[in-house]
């Protein structure tokens, strides 16, 4: 498969994935609003379209047509660059997520992953994908930090200070929680990690391989990374008006918004891939006969289902838990999650060493 065809297919896949992703983001927002509304005995948005299904469109239009206010005393270049950084980085990481085996289209093997290609007999993807995703998320801090600093308002500054400190602190736990999985699957390539979990549900890292502690660490750290309740201190509306994006309006604000939800999706995808067997169906062990079409579709189906479940988990937790205090947040990250993840690494490596 030549380079040009690879690039062409990559661009096509990119377009599709971006479209799906952005739509998903829009509707995740709607979903969140509705679910949370139900949890709080409200109706939620139900005016625009049937069941308010067109609400996202309306929001988008509103964002686009609103006046874009740039306060005077901001540091302009960074003020403008910050949301872009945030969104771009958020979108970039999706390109490394494998969401299925490869499809054979018009004689071409097309792996269901943007940055993977068919090298003749097997799928070749970036063999340090996980690291790259971690790197991207770690750079994602700058969006928040710079926005807060450049907009030259104390709410924003405080928000971004909190954000950068918080992200730095929780990156450690996040990365360390994944080491267990890496030890088991012995690879950094997401696709191989998923493959290592194939066969049956007991092979999933979460169930069969004692990584549920790692999973919980990961999910908590991920919530902190994405500034979600209960760790949404950078944008705690009750303390600092809206945190780091106080001074932003219209599309720039929308960018932050989308970036946050993209990150949620990415995190959900990672959770799926690392702990829940990626696109493998839970019933693989049963070997149910199925039509070819279903066989082609089912990986994507199961992947989406799992991701959706984690998205729902986000919303659920948001509807349930109160917000931490900042010192609690830091103490939790440093004094609980970090030691726990290290302990997890030690235990896992011991188990592996004893098994082999």
């Amino acid at each position: 498969m030549s380079l040009t065809t690879y690039i062409i297919f990559a661009i096509i896949k990119l377009a599709i994935v971006l479209f799906v992703l952005l739509t998903a983001v829009a509707y995740i927002v709607l979903l969140e609003r509705k679910v949370v509304a139900r949890m709080q005995n409200r109706w939620g948005p139900n005016r625009v379209g049937p069941f308010g299904l067109l609400q996202p469109l309306a929001d988008g239009a509103k964002f686009i047509f609103k006046e874009d206010i740039i306060p005077d005393s901001v540091y302009k270049p960074l003020y403008i660059a910050a949301p872009m950084i945030a969104l771009i980085l958020a979108l970039t990481s999706i390109s490394l997520i494998p969401f299925g085996e490869n499809w054979k289209i018009a004689g071409y093997h097309v792996p269901l992953e943007i940055t993977a290609f068919w090298n003749g007999n097997s799928i070749q993807d970036i063999n340090i994908g996980l690291l790259i995703i971690l790197g991207i998320t770690s750079i994602g801090v700058y969006g928040v930090a710079l926005s807060g600093w450049s907009s030259n308002s104390k709410y924003s500054l405080l928000g971004s200070l909190r954000a950068s400190a918080q992200l730095m602190s929780y990156e450690l736990s996040l990365g360390l929680s994944l080491v267990g999985v890496l030890l088991i699957s012995g690879s950094l390539s997401l696709r191989q990690i998923v493959d290592s979990q194939g066969g049956s549900i007991v092979n999933w890292n979460f169930f069969g391989r004692l990584q549920f502690i790692a999973f919980f660490i990961y999910i908590m750290a991920a919530y902190a990374e994405t500034n979600r309740i209960p760790f949404d201190l950078p944008e705690a509306e009750t303390e600092l008006v809206a945190g780091y994006h106080t001074e932003y309006s219209s599309m720039k604000f929308a960018m932050f918004f989308m970036a946050e939800y993209c990150n949620m999706v990415t995190v959900a995808c990672l959770a799926t891939i690392l702990f829940f067997g990626g696109w493998h169906s839970p019933f693989e062990a049963l070997h149910i006969a199925a039509p070819a079409l279903w066989i082609a579709i089912s990986p994507v189906f199961w992947f989406v289902v799992k991701v959706f479940f984690f998205i729902f988990l986000y919303i659920w937790i948001r509807g349930t838990l109160p917000r931490f205090r900042y010192d609690q947040l830091m103490a939790f990250g440093w004094k609980f999650l970090l030691p726990l993840s290290i302990a997890n690494i030690i235990v896992t490596s011991l188990v592996l060493a004893l098994r082999s």
């Binding site: 971690l134 770690s138 400190a165």
Partner: protein, 165 residues
């Protein structure tokens, strides 16, 4: 060919970022340009077949160290650096020394550039496993020592930055 193009692109980005670091008068701009340099360096590492190093470069440097810098800049609210007449030594000794140093280096590199040979993409590729083995087998002691160093650095930072009351 591709290699050369990529190298030139990233190399130019590197140099540009470095120069920007030098020319910008606001620390945060310098920090951002340094981040750019580091990103470009990571890509150069990839070209040299050091993928893991590249990833770590991004994660550690760009993701942690520079965040720390930015954080401190924000915390201290560092402004544009004012012009004070610095030390004459730095100008009249340091700059010539630096230039001489640079010329020497370039001369040394250029004089036996042919001996150094070519770097080919994929000619030398270090899988993460190999790196890990090297790090934990033959370099185990330095590794442990550095971990001790880190520990000391943490404690030192805590002690220094704590507001004594």
């Amino acid at each position: 060919m591709l290699h050369q193009v990529l190298f030139i692109i990233f190399g130019v980005v590197c140099v540009a970022g470095a120069l920007n670091l030098l020319l910008q008068r606001h620390p945060i701009n310098s920090a951002l340009s340094l981040i750019v340099v580091m990103g470009a360096l990571a890509l150069l590492f990839l070209l040299l077949g050091a993928e893991f190093v590249a990833a770590v470069q991004v994660i550690v440097y760009a993701g942690a160290v520079m965040v720390l810098f930015v954080f401190v800049i924000m915390l201290l609210n560092a402004g544009v650096e004012e012009h004070t007449r610095g030390s004459r030594v730095a100008i009249f000794l340091g700059i010539p020394g630096l230039i001489a140093f640079f010329i020497f280096m370039c001369w040394a590199i250029g004089s036996n550039g042919s001996a150094l040979g070519q770097a080919r993409i994929g000619s030398f590729y270090v899988p993460t496993q190999e790196l890990g083995i090297a790090l934990f087998r033959e370099f185990l002691l330095p590794f442990e020592v550095t971990s001790v160093l880190i520990l000391i650095a943490i404690m030192g930072a805590v002690v220094l930055a704590r507001r004594e009351r």
